[in-house]
């Protein structure tokens, strides 16, 4: 990087950046633009036109959407919490301890990561109905938690392997209690990894459509992606484009904020899990 870059290289790089930015932002800008259009402007086929909050008023006064938003936040958060706790225990074991069966567990997790959800939605649909957890929060939390375990285990293991664990002993030699050593030394060192894995798991649960679609039927547990797919206007055949766009923007904003703040960690987590694992 010390070499001087020519004007031509800088120009090419600038063009590269612009192309990538355009690539990533066009659909997002488009759905945002649609959400700000009034019903009269929706059909004008212009990328940008008008600026009204009418659609947002519609979605935020819609009970179905509010329920779905609460379901999405609650289900994704609880699933993330459980997944991370279970994965942290497993990742600690696989990265720090030596035991037979480690490879088996890691390859099992990899197999789950490649598992096609459609292959079990029929079984889960039938099982959940007989267990009475069809169309409940727990009915979605269970598959989300499980399907995110591999991602969480691999990401956390990659981070845990980098932690200088002997600092814990060093602190104890210096007079810290085991709990103090854990809280003051290990927790701060492990926190970035745990945090990164949590973001990835949350994004997965927040984005899921197939389980949300097949294992729910009412506002009781339907999350936003499923609610969006079944969102209809006054008549069943009229797609409320503006309202769907506004609802889409509402669920996209938190993701964009997370991506902007934690981009470096997300990249580290994604690649650590895939490459080192």
């Amino acid at each position: 990087m010390s070499e001087k870059h020519t004007a031509r290289e800088r120009l090419l790089w600038t063009i590269g950046i612009l192309v990538v930015l355009l690539y990533a932002l066009i659909p997002v800008a488009w759905i945002a633009s649609l959400s700000f259009k009034t019903p009269e402007e929706v059909g004008d086929k212009k990328f940008f036109s008008g600026f009204s909050f009418e659609n947002y008023d519609v979605v935020f006064s819609d009970d179905t959407f509010i329920a779905a938003l609460i379901n999405s936040i609650g289900i994704a958060s609880i699933a993330t919490l459980i997944s991370i706790v279970l994965a942290a225990m497993a990742a600690y074991a696989t990265s720090r301890l030596d035991f037979t069966g480690k490879t088996l567990i890691l390859s099992g997790a990899l197999a789950v990561a490649m598992f096609p959800p459609i292959s079990i939605v029929g079984s889960l649909f039938e099982m959940w109905r007989s267990l009475g957890i069809y169309d409940t929060w727990i009915g979605l939390i269970i598959p989300y938690m499980t399907f995110t375990l591999p991602l969480a285990i691999y990401t956390l293991s990659a981070f845990f392997r980098e932690i200088p664990w002997e600092l814990e002993q060093a602190a104890q030699v210096d007079g810290a209690t085991p709990f103090q050593a854990f809280r003051k030394i290990i927790v701060p060192l492990a926190a970035p990894g745990v945090f990164t894995a949590s973001i990835l798991v949350f994004i997965f649960a927040w984005n899921d459509f197939i389980f949300a679609n097949t294992l729910t039927s009412t506002d009781a547990a339907r999350t936003v992606p499923a609610a969006l797919a079944f969102f209809t206007g006054a008549s069943q055949f009229e797609q409320p484009i503006g309202a769907i766009s506004a609802a889409s923007v509402v669920v996209t904003v938190p993701i964009i904020i997370m991506v902007l703040i934690f981009q470096r960690r997300i990249v580290a987590g994604l690649t650590a899990g895939a490459v080192k694992g």
Binding site: W13, V20, Y23, A24, L25, P27, W30, I31, L34, G43, K45, K46, M89, A90, A93, T94, L97, D98, F99, G101, K102, G108, V112, M114, F115, P116, P117, I118, S119, I120, V121, G122, S123, F125, E126, I142, T146, F147, I153, E162, P164, E166, W206, F209, I210, N213, T214, P225, L228, A229, S248, T252, I256, M258, V259, L260, Q263, I266, T271, A274
Partner: protein, 313 residues
């Protein structure tokens, strides 16, 4: 890290006699720590897939639950002799092959751009993470409305013929579905490839440069061979992911209309809409078998390529 390696040998010898006890205790702790995750994964994937296999051997339609009976492999016969299954499989393979190939090329370009970053690496990284993070259903709506004849900005663009209506034909719909798929998942591919690029030592490039190799030669003779494992891993993940395509089709062409039905959509239609759990489970198991076949092929390829690399160096 260095402290750990220097410290370990001094700590180990005195405890050698109790090593077996320690090892046992360690193994017990390890299994205890792993147990909850392992049990969860077994309950939610192992048991249901076994149950799906059991269901696939039954005649079991929730509309006529009393007619449930064991029919052996009859459901598989029904699926494998239907043109729907083979058409849907073909559609799925087309979507998978086209989107993954385009993603590989685009992803590699983005990875190279990011690898050679002169400035502005942060904005580029943040930008490509947006497609990765965005809800697939939301992105699918964005693309569908972009090509919707009543609202789409695409039709307001110059050079786009007014009578072009992609969402009313099979080919056009597949084009939009594949576009949505590529847009959403290229960043993931790019990030995996970028991580692979970082593993290619600069010295090799310098040496080849001295020997008079051109940029293109260095890319195909040095970068690509050294990145082969990373490329295969990225391809494996994305191929399996694309093969399961569901969300994009569900939104862009509801129900898999106009011949855009993928195998996952077919499974969904039979299982959830027609509540025919027997026949639907047979489709589920067949999809599962396809996924295993794809994974085995890739893992074999990965095995030989890493073995080759070890043999050469």
């Amino acid at each position: 890290m260095e402290a750990a390696t220097t410290k370990a040998p001094t700590a180990a010898p005195p405890k050698k006699k109790r090593m077996t006890d320690r090892a046992k205790a360690e193994r017990k702790l390890a299994w205890l720590l792993c147990a909850p995750a392992v049990i969860a994964m077994l309950i939610v994937t192992g048991y249901p897939i076994a149950y799906a296999f059991y269901l696939s051997l039954q005649k079991f339609d929730l509309r006529f639950p009393d007619e449930k009976e064991f029919v052996g492999l009859a459901n598989y016969g029904d699926v494998l002799t239907s043109t729907t299954w083979w058409n849907d499989l073909l559609t799925t393979v087309i979507i998978t092959v086209v989107s993954v190939s385009v993603e590989l090329v685009l992803g590699m370009l983005i990875a190279l751009v990011m690898h050679r970053a002169i400035f502005g690496r942060g904005p580029v990284r943040a930008a490509i993470l947006i497609p990765y993070g965005i809800v697939t259903v939301v992105a699918a709506f964005a693309w569908r409305y972009a090509f919707d004849p009543t609202s789409g900005f695409v039709f307001g663009l110059p050079l786009v013929p007014d009578d072009w209506q992609p969402l009313t034909t099979k080919e056009g719909s597949l084009f939009v579905i594949i576009l949505a798929e590529i847009w959403k998942t290229t960043p993931f591919m790019a990030l995996l490839l970028l991580a692979g690029l970082a593993l290619v030592p600069d010295e090799l490039h310098e040496a080849a440069k001295v020997d008079g190799a051109s940029t293109v030669q260095r890319f195909f003779r040095i970068t690509i061979p050294l990145m082969k494992p990373a490329i295969l891993v990225a391809l494996l993940f994305r191929t399996l992911d694309a093969f399961r395509i569901f969300d994009n089709i569900f939104i862009i062409q509801p129900g898999g209309a106009l011949g855009t039905e993928s195998v996952s959509i077919l499974g969904y239609n039979i299982l959830i809409n027609r509540v025919n759990l027997g026949l639907g489970s047979a489709v589920s198991i067949l999809i599962f078998v396809c996924v295993i076949l794809i994974a085995v092929l890739f893992v074999k390829g990965l095995g030989t390529s890493t073995a080759q690399q070890r043999g050469e160096t």
